[in-house]
Amino acid sequence: MSRLVFWRLARAGLAIWTLASVVFLLSHRDAGAAVQEALAEVSDVQTDRTATTSAERLAAQAAVRERLGLNMPLFYISQGSNQQEPTWQWNGLHNQYHQWATGLLHGDLGTSYRNGQPVASRLGAALSFTLPLTGTAAVLAILAALALAQRLAASPWWQRPVRTLLVTVHALPLFVVALVLLLAFANPDAFAWFPAYGLDQPADVGSGTWSQIATYLMHMALPVSALTITAIPELTLQLDAALTQELHADYATTARAKGLDEGAVIRHHALRNALLPTLTQIAELLPALVAGAVVVEVVFALPGMGRLLAEAAAARDYPVLVGGILLTGAARLLALLLADLFYFWADPRIRWQS
C-alpha cells in the first residue's frame, strides 16, 4: 500500500512539475505583453508633456525587461535568428526557466510583476481568505447532501418536488444565486439581515474579539450560502441516484427480509456502496477549494484566490499566475490521489484486485 502511495505521489509530483513548466514557458513567451503592461498602455496613451524618442522607448522597455528578469534567454536552448537555416543554441544555466526552477526548489515562487511582493506571501494571504469560505461551503454541502440524499432515497412524499427543486437550482449559474441572495437578504427594500460586502467594515476595527467573530460570521453567511446552495444539488442528485440503484440490489432485499427498516438498510448497507461516485465528486471539490470562487468573491467584494488569479491573468502578472496554477494543479492531482485512496478504503474489491 505504502509503495503504491509513494509511486502515485512521485507520478503526481512529476505531472505537477510538467504542468507548471509548460505554463511558465508558454506564459513567458508572451513577455512583451508584461513589459507593455508595466509601461503605458498603447490604446490609452494620454497626450503627454514630452515626446519620447524611439531610443528612449527602447531603453524603457529594456529597463523593464531587466527589472523583471526577462532579459535572459527563456530556456536552456533557443532557436537562432538565422532565417535561412534554423539553428539551435545552448544558453547554459543563465536562463529564465533555470532561475525559476532553482527558486521553486528552494521554495521561492518569485515576485509579483505588479507590486514586487513575494508570490508565496500573496498566495498565502489569498488562501487565508479563500479556504475558510470554500472549506466551510464544501463541508456544509457534503453534510447536507448526505442527509438529504438518504431521506430522498427512502421515497418520502416530498421526493419529487425536492428533486425538481434540486435540478432547478443545479441549472442556475453561481452569479445568479449570489445576486439573488444579495438582493433578498442584504437589501433595504427586502430584508437587510446581512452585510452586503466584505469581511468587516473599517469601523469594526478595534471592537472586541467576540464582536469581530460575530461580524465575520455575518459577512460570511451569504457567500457561504451561495457556494453551498450551488454545490448541494450535484452531490445530492448523484448520491440519491446511486442509493436508489443500490436499494434495488439483492443484498438490500435480503436486509429488508431480515426485518430491518428502510433507514437502517440505507445507512448500514446501501450507503457505503453508493458513496463511490460521490467520493470522486468530493475529491473534485479540493482544487476548487484552493482556486477560490471568483464569482462569489467579486459579488461579495471578498479577497481571495479567485480574484487574485483573475487579476494576475488580466495584468500579465506571470509569477503570480504560474504560482496559482502550480498550487491549483497540485491540489487537483492530490485530489485524484485522495480519491483513489478513498476507493481503496470504501471498496474491498479494488483492494483485492490491486
Binding site: G32, L39, V42, Q46, Q117, V299
Partner: protein, 539 residues
C-alpha cells in the same frame, strides 16, 4: 513609482503633496506645496528655467521643513537604477537639473530641455519625498541629475544607489504608508483588495495657512476607501448607507438609482470627462490608406444613438480629441460627423470603390498597381463591458446595409494592446484618456510615434509640422489656434473617429456637503467633504 492606476493616484494624493495640484472645479493647476506657479525664463531656443518657492510652513511630520533638497532628491530617485521607475523616467526626463540656493533652502530652479507651455504644469505634478528618510547621509548628492539620466544600464553597480533602492523598495513593499509624506493624511490600515483607511494628521502644516487653498483642504478626520468590484453590490452598499460616495457608477445603475425611491436620500452628479470613445483606422492597410474611404466609413457610426444607448444621454459628442468643455481649444466651427450611410456611398464612389452587381459581392476597386482591393473590415475592441461591443455591433449593422462585411474581433485587454501595437486590425474601438493640460500629440499622431503610441499609423508632413508647432507654441492663444487647425486636419484625414466624451457619474449621500465634483479624475474631491450637522434635539 510603479505604473499607477487612478485609485493609487487618489490614495497618494492624501499622503503626499505635489508642488502644483489641479483644481477640480476650475480645471487648472494651482500651487500646493509651492507658493505660486513657477516663474518661467526661456534660455535661448532650447532651454527653460522654472523657478519655484516652497511654502515656508511646509514641513514633514517630524517638523523638518520641506526644502529644495527634497525636490532634487525626488527627481534623482526617479532615475535611480534598480527601482520600477521606467514610466517616471520618460515622463520627467525633460528636467535636466535642479539649481538650489544654500541661502534660500526653499527656493530652487528647474532647468528643462526644450520650451513648452505645458512645462509649467508638468514640472510640478510629482509627489515630493523626504531626502532625510531615505538618504540620511546624502549619498545621492554626489550624482547630478544628468549623470543619473545618462547612466547606462550596463554601468557597474554603485553600492550607494543599490542601498538606496533597497531602502525605498523595503518601505514600499512593507506598507505604502511607511513612505513618509507631507500630505494631510496617514494610511492607518490597508486590507488588500478590501479597504484603505486614512486618518487626518492632528497637526498638519497647511492648517496654519490663511485661507487654506482648496488643494490643501483636508476636512474629513477619517477617509475609508472601500473596494467593491461589482456594481450591484456597490449600489446596495450606498443605499444601505455603508458608503457615502459612489464614483464612476455605471450608466444603468445611475439611471436605476435616480428613478428609485432611494433617490430622495442621494445627490446625483454627472460631468463630462476627458476620456473620449473613438474608433481608429489602420492607415497602413491598402484599402484604408486614403482619406475619402476613411471619411466614408466614419459615417457608419451613429454617435448620437450610441451615446443614448450606452450612456443614457450623459456625456457629450465631439468633433475631435479636444473636449467640448475646453471652449478656447475646441473647434466649434467644425460639424459633427453625421450618421449618413447614403453620404458614405457617395464618398466610397469618389474613392474609387465600385459596388458589385449582386448582393454579397461587396465593394472593390483597383489600386494604382492594378491589384483588386476588396472592402472588408476586421474590427477589434476590448471584450470587457458592453460599451465597445455596442459600438462595434452598430458599425457592423450599418456597414452590412451597404454590403460591407465587418468581422468583429472582441479581444482580451492585454491581447488588444498587443494587437494594436502590432497593427493587427483594420478598425479598432477604444478610449483615449485626456486632460486639459497637456497637448503634445507627438506620441499618438506624429510619425515618430509609429510603431509605438501612433496606433493608426497615420502621419503626414503637414500633421507632423502642426503637432510640433503645438508642442512649441509660445502662447495659449497661438496654441488654441493651432489646436483648432489640428482638429480640422484630423477630421479631414479621418485616421480616427472621435465619437463622444464619456461622463463622470457620481452618486453621494445627501448627508454630505461641500462635495466638489468636476471633469478631472476621480471626478470629486474627497478632502473637502463634510457631513451635514445633525439638527440638535429640541430642549
Amino acid at each position: 513609482m510603479l505604473q499607477p492606476n487612478q485609485a493609487a493616484i487618489d490614495a497618494n494624493n492624501l499622503l503626499h503633496v505635489c508642488l502644483l495640484q489641479p483644481d477640480i472645479a476650475n480645471r487648472k493647476y494651482g500651487p500646493a506645496l509651492a507658493t505660486s506657479l513657477p516663474a518661467v525664463e526661456l534660455v535661448g531656443d532650447s532651454l527653460s528655467k522654472l523657478a519655484y518657492d516652497i511654502r515656508p510652513t511646509a514641513a514633514w511630520d517630524n517638523g523638518r521643513p520641506v526644502t529644495a533638497r527634497d525636490v532634487e532628491f525626488t527627481l534623482k530617485l526617479m532615475f535611480c537604477p534598480g527601482l520600477p521607475n521606467e514610466v517616471a523616467r520618460n515622463r520627467y526626463r525633460f528636467i535636466r537639473a535642479v539649481l538650489t540656493d544654500l541661502k534660500a533652502p526653499q527656493h530652487f530652479t528647474l532647468v528643462c530641455r526644450g520650451q513648452a507651455l505645458e512645462y509649467v504644469e508638468a514640472s510640478g505634478d510629482f509627489f515630493i519625498l523626504p531626502e532625510a528618510a531615505f538618504d540620511p547621509r546624502g549619498q545621492l548628492r554626489r550624482f547630478s541629475l544628468v549623470d543619473l539620466q545618462k547612466r547606462a544600464t550596463t554601468a557597474p553597480p554603485d553600492s550607494a544607489l543599490q542601498s538606496l533602492a533597497q531602502r525605498y523598495q523595503a518601505a514600499e513593499a512593507g506598507h505604502p504608508g511607511q513612505v513618509p509624506g507631507c500630505g494631510p493624511y496617514q494610511l492607518v490600515k490597508w486590507e488588500k483588495d478590501r479597504y484603505l483607511t486614512f486618518r487626518r494628521k492632528p497637526q498638519w502644516w497647511a492648517d496654519r495657512l490663511q485661507p487654506v487653498p482648496i488643494a490643501l483642504q483636508a476636512r474629513p478626520k477619517q477617509l475609508d476607501y472601500v473596494i467593491i468590484p461589482d456594481a450591484a453590490t456597490a449600489t446596495l452598499a450606498l443605499r444601505r448607507g455603508d458608503i457615502d460616495v459612489y464614483p464612476q457608477i455605471p450608466a444603468r445603475e445611475f439611471a436605476r438609482l435616480r428613478a428609485s425611491p432611494a433617490a430622495a436620500a442621494l445627490n446625483f452628479y454627472s460631468t463630462t470627462s476627458y476620456d473620449v470613445v473613438m474608433a481608429g483606422f489602420n492607415t497602413r492597410r491598402a484599402h484604408l490608406n486614403d482619406a475619402l474611404t476613411r471619411q466614408a466609413l466614419s459615417r457608419f457610426f451613429d454617435a448620437a444613438g450610441l451615446l443614448k444607448a450606452t450612456q443614457l444621454g450623459d456625456g457629450q459628442r465631439t468633433v475631435g480629441v479636444i473636449s467640448p468643455i475646453e471652449k478656447e481649444n475646441y473647434n466649434d466651427s467644425l460639424a459633427l460627423i453625421p450618421f449618413d450611410p447614403a453620404g458614405a456611398t457617395a464618398l466610397l464612389r469618389q474613392a474609387g470603390w465600385q459596388r458589385g452587381p449582386a448582393p454579397g459581392t461587396g465593394w472593390t476597386r483597383k489600386s494604382a498597381n492594378g491589384d483588386l482591393q476588396q472592402l472588408r473590415l476586421a474590427m477589434r475592441y476590448r471584450a470587457e463591458g458592453s460599451l465597445f461591443s455596442t459600438v462595434a455591433l452598430q458599425f457592423q449593422a450599418a456597414a452590412a446595409g451597404l454590403d460591407i462585411p465587418v468581422t468583429l474581433q472582441p479581444t482580451e485587454s492585454g491581447a488588444f494592446s498587443s494587437s494594436l501595437k502590432a497593427g493587427d486590425f483594420d478598425v479598432y474601438v477604444g478610449v483615449r484618456k485626456g486632460n486639459p493640460f497637456m497637448f503634445n500629440f507627438t506620441p499618438v499622431f506624429h510619425s515618430l510615434g509609429i510603431d509605438a503610441g501612433n496606433t493608426t499609423g497615420f502621419s503626414s508632413p503637414a500633421s507632423d509640422q502642426l503637432i510640433e508647432a503645438i508642442a512649441a507654441a509660445d502662447s495659449k492663444t497661438h496654441r488654441s489656434q493651432l489646436l483648432r487647425r489640428f482638429q480640422a486636419l484630423l477630421q479631414q484625414e479621418a485616421p480616427i473617429v472621435p465619437l463622444f466624451f464619456l461622463p463622470n457619474r457620481i452618486v453621494a449621500s445627501r448627508q454630505l456637503t461641500n462635495l466638489h465634483v468636476g471633469s478631472l479624475k476621480p471626478g470629486f474631491m474627497a478632502t473637502t467633504i463634510e457631513r451635514v450637522p445633525k439638527p440638535s434635539a429640541a430642549p
